[in-house]
Structures are given as structure tokens and as C-alpha cells.
Symmetry: C2
Subunit: 501 residues, 2 copies
């Protein structure tokens, strides 16, 4: 490697420190900050974001990127490539467009809170039109700079390397099988005895202790992270300081517990990134799809399995001091509670069987919104029609329809597909892992996550961004991402009700 390359490494190490600072300040904003500090904190964060942008777009960086020679090492080569991608994204947009876009999304988000509450699409139409118009401009400008179509340019922001041509065939395969599969699953579920609900109350300290116990069981290093409470659960923080949050409901411990297991999946990915490259772009987690694959692999694939439910049941009884033999606290009923399927309007409340339907609708519609094929005014009707086609539900109002998510008002187009790409990736990774290391699920039946975590460290976490998401999936599973592992998993767990699912 040459001097220019080394100089870039130092430059990006500073960015990494700035990212850490922003990460902690954002976490603090959601978890700790007193309400009266909100305005000032927003200013502080905008200033730090501005600094990040300045460092990334400094004229010296463009020169160094041209001159840099990374040598033969594949990590350095990938590092330089990722630096170039970040630089291209950052320099693609004129300052006024970034500014206009930030202001428009801030305004729209404000309007959205009321519009969602009132199910009033007309109220948000003007501001959302403006967000969409500016997002299109962003997509076109970024696409020109990176040689991508507008929608691919947006995708690349959240999921480097993923293209519409990767997604379309996979989602087509999924859409073809899903509606019928949902029907079969519900039929099967209705033929079985209903799950026995577990009556609370479940005190917050006990739920929290359970969450901490499970996190550590999965492999979370408590000297390098935390568990706290926030309104919207997330996994954030900084390098060597991975912080996840949940929220507690005293009448039902399952949502918080599964939330913690989900966020722990994210956390384990961050904790498994290679130490050597932590401060460099190549050392970061590989985009939204891989990140979501790690949380869903833990939450959905593994922690809703019969194997885990068997280990979990006595732990739950101990956690909540349930007398031995109390009805409902056996492994079979716990498993039923964890795998209950119920089509509903709200994406974030959906089970793993019906969740993809919500995404297929959003993916199709946001592509059409960005291309201009779907006028924004027609969104509610189109949304409701597709939800009915895939889930058989009549959306009662736009608050429970196309206004339920914050993504579009925030200008986050190209983000939704990653959720389901993550679910499909999780299924395909688990399938491959269990084939390659047969003791993974038997170990989990004993609460031992070491074999699984070892496989993930080697095949996913430890690779960071040294390869693209499609390449990592190909290398780990022997084939491109498709929907077959996911569909097979749903079939085995929800139709066959197989013991190993």
C-alpha cells in the first residue's frame, strides 16, 4: 500500500470516532436525556453530522482516493472500495438538496404524527409530496454519481451492493407462495388446541433480569454493552459499547423478551466484527439486510424453535417464580405462544409468517412512487388493495394502512425490502449452518449458543464488509439468496409442526 492509502486510513479512523460519539449521543437522546434538552441536542447532532460530512468531502480526500494504492490485501482493497462508495454518496448531492431534504422530512415527520393518529392522508399529502420529490432528486443525483438506477441508489444507502435485480426474482418467488401458505398455516393452527395464555403481572425487575440472563446466554458481553429502556427498542451505541433497549409490559413478558433476543442478534453481529478493522469502513457491519438477518436468525429462527422453547420453559418458571406444574408453562405451550400466527394491519406487530406480506406491498409501491408510475394521491387505495390481496384484510383507515410507518415521511425509501431480505437470509444461513454443523440445534436445546455463534463469527460477523452481502450469503450457504429456505422453514414449523422447527 502507499502513503495516500495510509493517510486515508487515518482520515477514516477520525470518522469512526465521530460515528461513535454520534452513536452514544443518539442513544442518550432516546434513553437518558431530559426533555428540555431536545432542541439543543438536535443542534449538537446536526453539527456533528455536518463535521462528518465535511471530513468525508474534504478536497484532500478526493485526491487521496485517486492516488491510493491498497496493495494486494483483500481487506485493504475492500476498505478502499468502501471509502470510495461512502465518498461518492457524500459528494453526490449538492448542499442545498441535502438541506432541503432534511427540512422537508423534519416537517413531514411532524405532520405524520397527527395524520397517522387521525388516519388523515389528505393532511400529509402536500408535505409527503415534497419529501417524495426531493427523495427522487436525491435518488437521481446519487444514481448518476454511482452509475445506478434511482431506486438502486436508494437501496445502496441502506444495503451496499444490493440491487433491484437481486430482489425482484426472490420477492416474486415469495409472493407466489405466500398467500396460499398463510392460508394453510392458519388452517393448521385452527385445527390444534389454542395456546394457553400466561397470566401476569410480570414485574419489570424480573423481566429485566430475565432479559439480561438470556442476552448473556446467547453470548452478549456485558462488559461491552448494556440493556436499557426506551419507547422504541433499538440496538445502538458505539464500538466496544453495544447498547440495546426494550420496553416492558407488565401484563405480558413475551414482547420484551423477544425484543431483547432480537436486539441481541444485532448486538452479537456488532460484537463479532474483526478487532483489526473496527475503525475502518471495511470493518463495519454489512448493511441492513445482513444486520436484520442476524437479529431474525436469533429471534425467529432459533429462539422460537422447539429446541429453545424446551430449554427456556424451566428458566421462565424460575424467572417468575411459577409453582411447578402450573398450566401453560410447559415447553409445548411456550412454543405455541411464540409461534402464534395472526394476520393483522400493523407491520411491526406481525409474526414471521405474515410479515413478508407487509414488505412485499411496501416494496412494490415505493418502487412505483419513486419511478412516478404511482401518483402519491393514489397510494392509500393501492396500499389497501394489495394488503387485501396478500392478507385478506380490509384496511379500516390509513392510520392502520399506508400511514402506519415513519419510513416514507422520513424519506426512507429503499429501506423496507431489507427487513424481508433479512428474514430470508436468516433462514438460508440457519439452514446452511445446521447442515455444516449438525450439533448447533442440539446444543441450543441445552441453552448452548457456542456452536451457532462460532459459525456466525466465521461466516458472517468476522467478514464485516470485506465482501458484499450477496457474496457473503453465497460463500456461507453455497448459493445466491432465494426464498426457498424461508418457505421450507415456515412449512416445517407451521404446517408440518416438525419437532426440529
Amino acid at each position: 500500500m502507499n502513503k495516500a492509502y495510509l493517510s486515508l486510513e487515518r482520515h477514516f479512523a477520525r470518522l469512526s470516532s465521530l460515528n461513535d460519539a454520534i452513536g452514544i449521543l443518539c442513544w442518550d437522546k432516546e434513553v437518558i436525556m431530559p426533555s428540555g434538552a431536545a432542541e439543543r441536542r438536535a443542534e449538537n447532532l446536526a453539527m456533528l453530522e455536518g463535521m462528518r460530512h465535511e471530513i468525508l468531502t474534504a478536497p484532500a480526500v478526493a485526491e487521496l482516493l485517486e492516488q491510493a494504492e491498497p496493495g494486494d490485501d483483500i481487506w485493504r482493497r475492500a476498505n478502499l472500495e468502501e471509502m470510495r462508495r461512502l465518498h461518492a454518496h457524500a459528494t453526490a448531492l449538492p448542499g442545498e438538496l441535502v438541506e432541503a431534504s432534511t427540512q422537508a422530512t423534519a416537517r413531514c415527520e411532524m405532520v405524520w404524527r397527527t395524520a397517522r393518529e387521525n388516519g388523515d392522508f389528505a393532511a400529509i399529502l402536500p408535505t409527503l409530496s415534497e419529501v417524495l420529490r426531493l427523495t427522487r432528486e436525491v435518488a437521481v443525483a446519487t444514481g448518476e454519481k454511482l452509475g445506478l438506477s434511482p431506486y438502486d441508489a436508494l437501496l445502496d444507502t441502506f444495503d451496499p451492493g444490493t440491487r433491484q435485480t437481486d430482489i425482484d426474482p426472490v420477492f416474486t418467488q415469495l409472493a407466489a407462495g405466500l398467500p396460499e401458505l398463510i392460508g394453510t398455516v392458519l388452517e393448521k393452527q385452527n385445527s390444534l388446541p389454542a395456546a394457553t395464555p400466561l397470566p401476569g403481572p410480570f414485574s419489570v425487575p424480573r423481566q429485566e433480569a430475565l432479559g439480561r440472563q438470556l442476552m448473556q446466554q446467547l453470548g452478549f458481553d456485558v462488559t461491552r454493552g448494556r440493556l436499557d429502556v426506551s419507547t422504541h427498542p433499538f440496538c445502538g451505541g458505539a464500538t466496544h459499547d453495544v447498547r440495546l433497549t426494550t420496553r416492558y409490559d407488565e401484563t405480558d413478558f413475551i414482547p420484551a423478551m423477544m425484543g431483547v433476543l432480537h436486539e441481541t442478534g444485532h448486538a452479537l453481529y456488532d460484537m463479532g466484527l474483526p478487532e483489526t478493522w473496527l475503525s475502518q469502513p471495511v470493518g463495519q457491519a454489512g448493511g441492513m439486510t445482513l444486520h436484520e438477518s442476524q437479529s431474525l436468525l436469533m429471534e425467529m429462527q432459533v429462539c422460537r424453535s422447539n429446541a429453545f422453547a424446551g430449554w427456556l420453559a424451566p428458566k421462565l418458571q424460575a424467572a417468575f417464580d411459577v409453582p411447578a406444574g402450573t398450566a401453560g408453562w410447559d415447553a409445548q405451550n411456550i412454543h405455541r405462544l411464540l409461534t402464534h400466527v395472526q394476520p393483522g394491519f400493523i407491520r411491526v406487530d406481525a409474526d414471521e409468517v405474515t410479515y413478508p406480506a407487509h414488505i412485499l406491498v411496501r416494496y412494490e409501491l415505493e418502487k412505483a412512487l419513486i419511478s412516478g408510475d404511482l401518483p402519491l394521491a393514489d397510494l392509500p387505495a393501492a396500499f389497501n388493495e394489495r394488503i387485501h390481496a396478500l392478507l385478506g384484510l380490509h384496511v379500516p383507515d390509513d392510520g392502520r394502512g399506508c400511514l402506519q410507518d415513519i419510513h416514507w415521511p422520513e424519506g426512507l425509501f429503499g429501506y423496507f425490502p431489507c427487513y424481508t431480505l433479512g428474514a430470508l437470509t436468516a433462514a438460508q444461513l440457519r439452514e446452511a449452518a445446521c447442515k455444516q454443523v449438525p450439533q448447533i440445534m442440539p446444543a441450543i436445546a441445552n441453552g448452548d449458543f457456542t456452536p451457532l455463534l462460532g459459525w456466525l463469527r466465521e461466516n458472517v460477523h468476522g467478514r464485516a464488509r470485506s465482501a458484499s452481502m450477496p457474496q457473503i450469503v453465497q460463500d456461507a450457504t453455497g448459493r445466491k439468496l432465494d426464498a426457498s429456505a424461508y418457505l421450507a422453514h415456515i412449512h416445517r414449523r407451521y404446517v408440518e409442526r416438525a419437532e426440529d422447527a
Copy 2:
């Protein structure tokens, strides 16, 4: 004002945001951060400090400072002056000296932890010599740049505008009266019945609830701040986000309670700074002496008074659910507990009567260390000799002697005098406030801090750095800072045992 001045305001507003970010990250480090993140956090903070230094020393700033015309407004004029002072401090030192100094203090601090534990001065002598040598270089270089003597240059870092010539006569006056006064106080105390100790345990949640109640009683705005726990209590955070900490001892609630009242004094200062100037240098609190005066005014002057003890006693009984009439929970005994005097070795445990003795010793010796009049190897003997002269105590080992404080190993020379200057200022401010607004203490007897806070807002907090500390004291009290109000206060409270003390 001209364009250059306005440009500087924008420049320093960015610094203010960076200071806020650093403030929250430092708070997080002490209160929240998992242990494994320590190394990385230190790197992050060093990077942000580096950015702060870069922004402050950018060539453009020097030019703007030369060209800037602030106009007639005294705030703008003071703002520009403070910008120049900050710039002079930042540019006074060559980068290698800053770097060497940072490394030397980091090394010395590490050695200090063990050396203090073992009372082993010889062990720290080499690294502390290096710290002292570099601090002298810093003092000389800064002094040359600012036209100050080396020791004044160090003082100016912590307490802008305070000079050795301000301190010497005041401390001489104090040293002349103190040893005899301590003797008289102890004699008087011994002639009275001993205070009845209050037996615990006092649960942490109850102590915490009490702390929150008292903070708010004093005027702390909980929408713009927090109370948490840390090993070393402090008041930190950011603009509109003032965070104080304490630590709890279940056998005795008084240390945590008085700690909270002390830190609340600091917090009220920060919360009372003028909104218009919050992002500018002139809008910051006026240095260590004024800051300490605000915490000591609350903790020592007001909250250990008979007036406050009378209001406090029933609140304490309620806070800890003490049956009515339990011995020791009456106002008189509470007041005795809060005003117990006991000469001891440890500065941070000292009462308000003996505390200045610890500072007089350190002030005299650190001046001699910086000037070179006192060889570092002779420090322990000199320290012990002075402690004996002022407090009549034989220091048993250096761990309880000259090694007890972290300041010198951290290179903080010129910091110690501010503690006692703060105590003297607190006494002089209270004397003036009560003369000008006679209802202040009667209101406090009813738990009403509004008259006092109003006076402080107008005469201290609201002035920020628009005037120097000596000027603010002069304007608020009608005379220069001296030791008379403090000595009179000690005499009235501890010798006369006056009802209004």
C-alpha cells in the same frame, strides 16, 4: 459589529456544540459506560478534543480575531475578549508539548493510584517530576503568550482573570486568623453536648427521593437535568442538560444529601446563564472560583444554617419514615450534625472551618514547586510540616499527605486556590445578598429559595463572563474579595453559635 466578528460567533457556536458532545460523553463515561469500552472512549474523547483544538487554532480564526469589531455592546466586547483569551491559551503551546504533557499525566495518574495506596512518594517521584517539568514549560509558554507570570498563566486556565496578587493578601489575612479560630471553634464545640448520631440504615431509593426533592426545592429544573450515581460526585452534562451525580452510603444519608445540595449549587449556576449567549464564550460560567462559590453558598452558607435545618428536620423525618419524637431528628441536632468540626488529614472530607487550611498548604507549596524554590523531593516533609502548623496534626503517611489528591499527578497546578477563593466568595456574596434582600434567610426557613436565587441570577449567574470574577464580586458586594465575611461567618456559626448562622 463587523462581518469578521459575526463569523467568529458562528465559529465558536460550533465549538459550543462540540463542548456539549464532550460533556455528555464524559458524563456517560463516569455513570453509564461499560468497563470494556474505556480504551475506545478515551480515543474518541481525544479525537474530539483534537477537533476542538483544530477549530480553535485554525489560521482563519487568528485572522478573524485581528479583524473583528464587536461594536459597543459590552457582551459582544467581552465575548471577543474571551475568544482572544481562549485562542491565546490554545495557540500558546507547541503540539509536541501538549502531547508530551498528556502522556506524562496519563502515566503519572496510573502510578499515583498505587503510590497513594502505599503512601509511597519515592514511587511517584520520577513521573511526577516529569509532570512538573512539563507543567512549568506549559506555564512559561502560556505566560509569555498572555503576558503573565508562569503561575498566573496556570491560574488563568481555571479561573480567568484571577492573579496571584489577588490571592496572596486574601490568603495572608486568612492564614493569620485561621489556626486560632480553629482552636476556639473546637473549644466551643467541646463545651456543648455532642450531636446524637442518626442510626440507619437509609435505603438508597429513599435517599434518592430526598435528593430529588431538595434539588427541586432549591430551584433545579428537572426537565433540563438529571441526578445519577457515580464514584466521584460531579456536576457535568451540557447546555440545557445539567447532570449531577452523588453516591450513597446506607449507614449515613448526610454525605449524599449534602453532596446533592453542593452539586445543585453548581447546577443552578449553569441553569441561570443567559439564554442569548449560551453558545458563546461570554455566556459560560465564570471560572472555578465563581462556580465553587455557588456550590458552597448553597451547601455551606445556606443548607447548613439554622434556618434551613429548621425547615429540613421534618422533611427528613418524612423521607425516612421516622416516628414523631424520635431522638436526634429535631432541628437543633440536625444542625449540630451538619456543622460538626473535626480536623483531619483528608481535604475532601474536611468541614468548612478546617478546609481552608488544606488549601493554604497546597497553594503555598505548588507556587514553590512551579517557581523551583521547593525541590519536588522535599515536598512530603514540607507538606507535613505545614499541615502540622495549621491543623496540629501529624501526617502518618504520604497517602494521607501530599499524595491524597489527584490534582498534581494530573498536572493541575493553580487549581487548588479556587476551592477556598470559592468559599470566601460564597461568604461575601451571602453577606451582601442578605443585607440587600433581608427576606432571603427568613424565606429559606420556609424552604423558599426564590429570593436567594433571584439575587444570584441577577448578580452572578446572569452575568456569565460579561465581567471578570473580581469585577462581579466587586459589583455584587461593593468591595474586593477578602476573607472577612468568611471569618465572620465562621465566628458567628461556630463560636457565637448565633441563631441566624
